[in-house]
Amino acid sequence: MRRIFPVIALLCVAPLAVGLALVWGPDPVAVAAREPLRERAADYEGADSCAACHPDHHASWERTFHASMTQLPERDSVLGHFDGRPVEFYGRSAVPFERDGAFWMRIPRGEGEREAQVALCVGSNRYQQYFERVGEGEGGELRRLPILWHVGEQRWMHLNGVFLEPDDTRWDAHAASWNDNCVFCHNTGVQPRMEASERRFATRVADLGIACEACHGPGEEHVRRMASPLARLATESGTLAIVNPSELAQAESLALCGQCHSQRLPDPLERLSEFLDRGPSFRPGDELRGHVTPVTRETPSVSSKRPELFRERFWRDGTARLTAYEYLGVTQSPCVKGGELTCGSCHSMHSGDVHGQLEPELRGDRSCTQCHDEIARDVSAHTHHAPESSGSRCLECHMPRMVYGILDIHRSHRIEVPDVRRDVEAGRPNACTSCHLGETAPWAAQAMRAWWGERYEAPRSRPDGAPLDVPEALASLHAGDAVQRAVYARQLGREDAAEPPRERAFAMASLVVALGDGYPSIRTLARRSLERLERELDLGLAGELAAYDAFGTTEERRDASLRLLELLRARAAARCAPPRPGQLIDEHFAVDLERIVQLLDLQSDHVISIGE
């Protein structure tokens, strides 16, 4: 009997040691919650707690750009080159540099300059923006710094050159606040905690970035319930106290993505102050209605200074022309209205390519033919185009690229049938002439009538008054509004257009003219298109294009354009097919400046200014 006590004591050593260690050792939950800006409140647990039980799902999320959307500035999160080399825009320079392990910028202020320490990074896919802390205390306001790092171009860019707006040499024009702006969609479990009277913030988030609970809902109750192994064994999906997006009905499933992938206002608008204090009320599993109202073209502006604030974000037929309106686009689509489509039909959050969150096979026709398999069996009968051509790709016709965002042109998420008259008269890009770049709108309408019937009529006019005998792409590039010009500046250089590069000297000439556009982002898109075509044609323009600076002075840009036009005229004959009449370039590859100026004069005086 005496010997039993040592045995029991021995068996108790490990449990006692573990218990004491857990009581007196550091608490990893508390450590995570003490990180800047983070607080696990309002039923949120944070992604770390999900990782403990769902390591595979956590890992598949952690590799996405959702996960790295907002990060503290650390060696492995900062993408920009803080190398102390000055970067110049509009005649003044900024210097990103490191000091004592922290990331800094020396930026213009008035006639002088000042230093700003990076306190937060937003973005990791296309570009990364940087924010400084302004005001006292840890919870002060985070304000955007004037230059960002563009990941694709591997260079610093002034915000004015990335957003869609005319040249603006003010360095502080985009000093937006993170706390009442970016915070809502780029983080999880948001509480802006704004004191409106003094405009002070004590902002907290459950997670920086778009984490598990953004889609699965607050996890506190789930964690509490699932702590019991018996509860886990007995649990059915309905009692998990957590949302499984794949089990949601269509409206709730769409709302899950739509809580961020749609511009929206509180419903009703009077709840704005509530949102700016405690954050949005939407939770996964809800419908958007009752929480927010998606912005449409008809939504009244909330700014008396900018009555067109929302209208200019849509084409005239109500189709969104900026990114972050995907929810609106997809809910306008017959595949949702009359079908079962959800975002999850094509996109996947835990698998596939993180660029677009798409499985490889769903990047192409399969995204449509998974439902419309009868078309896939004889695609040419449906498209009247060669089966392997871009004209037989579902997305090219039904989700054409006509959405501006983050210095690129993206696919519309309003899935629809092209209609030349509808599109041209609404002043929006048309799928046919976005590919048949040298053709006119009436030409495209005639082809549609021949193939698909009388209901496809020819357009009668363009809203800007540009003549219809000019190729639609060129008319839009020169006479269209800023978004139209941006779209065609990109499309004229696309690799898979109907005309091969050697038949696109006309496009190059017009793109060179677009290098003088009043919007720096359009100039950048035109330069990229020219570089793509130059890579195919090797006309010897590469050096001149590399030297071209979209932020240069008007004179510098004009001189660069003239040199490029001269080079094009001298060298195109050797490698390009002769242009057709009406393509704003003559048979000697000299640009028809007179006609182009006539088109440029049709550009609206209305200034479009859309930041992000």
Binding site: V7, L10, L11, C12, V13, A14, P15, A17, V18, A21, L22, W24, G25, P26, D27, P28, V29, V31, A32, D48, S49, A51, A52, C53, V223, M226, A227, S228, P229
Partner: protein
């Protein structure tokens, strides 16, 4: 020498049983921490790894000590028993204890200072095993 030899082997055997009697319950405890989703354990990757290693090393080294005691008398030169047994016991205890302590006051990316016991124990263990190999009859 005759007195030392059975004593040192017996000590190794006793240490093996004691180590087994503490390491196996540690495995049960770890399983319970998983079962009840104890966040203080699950949310610290370093702690999880350290304590898992403590359990694994404690159990396997305990079996090594018991195995040593079983074969020492027949297969090892008797004059080496004492020193080999001492080093084996030291190594077998220091390594799991080091791993366990490494997961007690750890930070996010590093184990705590107790981890230094692990290489120390490993040295004793390697030394003992080499000498045991050389002393094998």
């Amino acid at each position: 020498m005759n007195d030392t030899h059975p004593t040192s082997v017996a000590k190794a055997l006793r240490t093996g049983w004691i180590l087994l009697a503490t390491s196996l319950p540690l495995g049960l405890v770890l399983e319970a921490l998983h079962a009840f989703k104890v966040r203080g354990f699950l949310e610290s990757a370093v702690r999880r790894e350290m304590w898992r290693l403590a359990h694994a090393h404690g159990t396997l080294l305990a079996l090594l000590l018991i195995g040593f005691a079983a074969v020492a008398e027949r297969h090892l030169a008797s004059e080496r028993h004492a020193s080999i047994a001492r080093d084996l016991r030291l190594g077998a205890v220091l390594m799991p204890v080091g791993f366990f302590l490494g997961g007690v006051l750890n930070r996010e990316g590093d184990p705590s200072l107790g981890i230094v016991l692990v290489p120390l124990g490993a040295l004793f263990l390697v030394s003992a095993l080499v000498r045991a190999a050389l002393a094998t009859r």
